[in-house]
């Protein structure tokens, strides 16, 4: 009996005339305690899929069940880490998390709520930023607050929507390790949405590709039978890793229809290269300074 089950889910947006189908025939079942990664193109419908599971959107057809109960509305049993952090900017780090704790555990004594909140701030190493407002935090710190808030709700399932895609490579690696560590401690059921195949393979038990939209659908799930703990440096040379990676990318390329000649991938290279002085400055307006490689946020590579 799967813990989370999605059956023949369909979801379209728009009015009758210009209606586009975003997700088509989505089937997914996840066992308790599993860590599942879903990879897909930008705009494929990953956030839509997470919103459906979270209950923020209703499907046009099909059924979603969590623990055998139909998902009809959002609730704190599903902790969501939104793609854009979604912290309330007028509350400090502590208050953002406390709001969630206070709501989910209304019967706890205030001291216990406070201690629970502090413990989760400490878990993501943010104790020094305890009283800062979100505007005073870096992207990675906001992301960690968002993760801490979701975990502090002690949800049955954790839904992570591209939690790391806005970060630079070094912070990204650190937070990947942090998510891996937290998962191995808490053994929560996790759905991780990502656009980075390597990240999915590094962290998850299973990886499932989502084809390009419109009408995106999930491909076959691939078991990641690489033993844990996985070492991010060593894993690149693991033949099994390469095999899984190729399978996922092949699916994404093959099922992507019009997109099947290119792979678009966010760059994860650290900024080791000098400024590219060969790029001429624009004639009118625009930036005068040369472009550094790390500022190129996306690269498209031709493949045969």
């Amino acid at each position: 009996m799967p813990f989370l089950e999605l059956k023949s889910i369909r979801k379209s947006f728009g009015e009758n005339g210009s209606r586009t189908e975003v997700l088509r025939d989505i089937n997914l079942s996840i066992e308790k305690g599993e860590f599942v990664a879903i990879v897909g193109y930008s705009g494929a419908g990953k956030t839509t899929l997470i919103s459906l599971i979270a209950g923020l959107l209703a499907p046009d057809a099909g059924s979603l069940t969590l623990n055998d109960l139909e998902i009809t509305a959002p609730g704190p049993d599903r902790g969501v880490v939104f793609q854009n952090y979604s912290l309330l900017p007028w509350l400090s780090v502590y208050e953002n998390i406390y709001l969630a704790v206070d709501q989910v555990f209304p019967n706890w004594a205030p001291a216990k709520k406070q201690q629970h909140t502090e413990a989760h701030i400490a878990m993501v190493n943010l104790s020094p930023a305890h009283d800062k407002k979100p505007a005073e935090l870096s992207g990675g710190m906001k992301q960690r607050v968002s993760v801490a808030r979701a975990l502090a709700m002690d949800p049955q399932i954790l839904l992570l929507d591209e939690p790391l895609s806005a970060l630079d490579a070094l912070t990204r690696a650190t937070l990947q390790d942090e998510i891996g560590r937290i998962w191995s401690q808490q053994k929560k059921t996790v759905v991780l949405i990502t656009n980075d195949v390597d990240e999915g393979i590094l962290l998850a038990d299973r990886i499932i590709p989502l084809s390009a939209g419109p009408g995106a659908t999930l491909g076959a799930s691939i078991n990641i039978d690489i033993p844990r703990p996985r070492d991010r440096k060593g894993i690149n040379h693991d033949p099994r890793f390469k095999e899984i990676r190729r399978a996922v990318i092949n699916y994404l390329l093959g099922a992507g229809g019009h997109r099947h000649t290119t792979v678009s991938k966010k760059l994860v290279l650290p900024d080791l290269e000098p400024e590219d002085l060969s790029v001429p400055p624009p004639m009118i307006g625009g930036r005068r300074t040369p472009i550094r490689r790390h500022e190129i946020k996306r690269e498209t590579v031709e493949v045969e």
Binding site: A54, G55, L56, A73, P74, G75, P76, R78, G79, V80, F82, N84, S86, L88, P89, W90, L99, A100, Q103, V104, K133, A135, M153
Partner: protein, 263 residues
Amino acid sequence: MNKSKFKFDWLVLPLFGIGVVLLLWSVFSATWAKELPSPMKTWEKSRELILSPFAKRGEMDQGILRFTWYSLVLVAKGYAIALLVGTPIGFCLGLSKTFSKTFDPIIQILRPVSPLAWLPLGLILFLGAGKQASELGALFTIAICAMWPTVLNTAVGVRAIPQDYLNVAKVLKLSRTKTLFKVLIPATLPYMFTGFRLSLGIAWLVIVAAEMLTGRPGVGGFLWQEYNSLIYEHIILCIITIGVVGFVLDRLMSVVEKRFKTA
């Protein structure tokens, strides 16, 4: 160097501007506008009102700040009513499409109506109140004229709340009241305060008209009385007072507004 430039910008240049206007004023009063009192004459005639600003010699012969104080008290009351009525209306407009479609047209029609048009209606409405009628009528006029910026800005602010914040409220299953106080109001505050500031400006504009028509003691009432007694210097004094007070109020409100902008 930088600092002195700064001082030049906000001290020397504005003083120069005031000097230019004073000069033009003197020239005009000396040439073609003979009825217009010169700056010197205005000062001489107004000295007593300014130098003992809180004196009270009679109902309509009081220090200028005493008059200002009466006006401010009345404005404060009318403004408070405007905010208390306007903010909830703004929230309803922002939250409910049906409410908005129902009442937006009538609001757009009532909004441009001048205080001069509302005041007689206010006086009629409170005719039964006897001696209080002029105060209640004035309050009614201030409230109904000053309300609209608060109403409209609050509505815009509520509509502009990012979906993300609402999603947080939904995922946490916040109750309606908690959503209102923990999410909707804090998210709307910056817009609300812009509305509050504009409303205060209008309330101060309306007070003068209301006092002139009702003859209540206050800067506006005093201005009208001095016009009738042909003491034109005091009219100018009143204009300057009204302007300065309005400016100070606006500055105070924008300080408050800025505080909430960063939130």
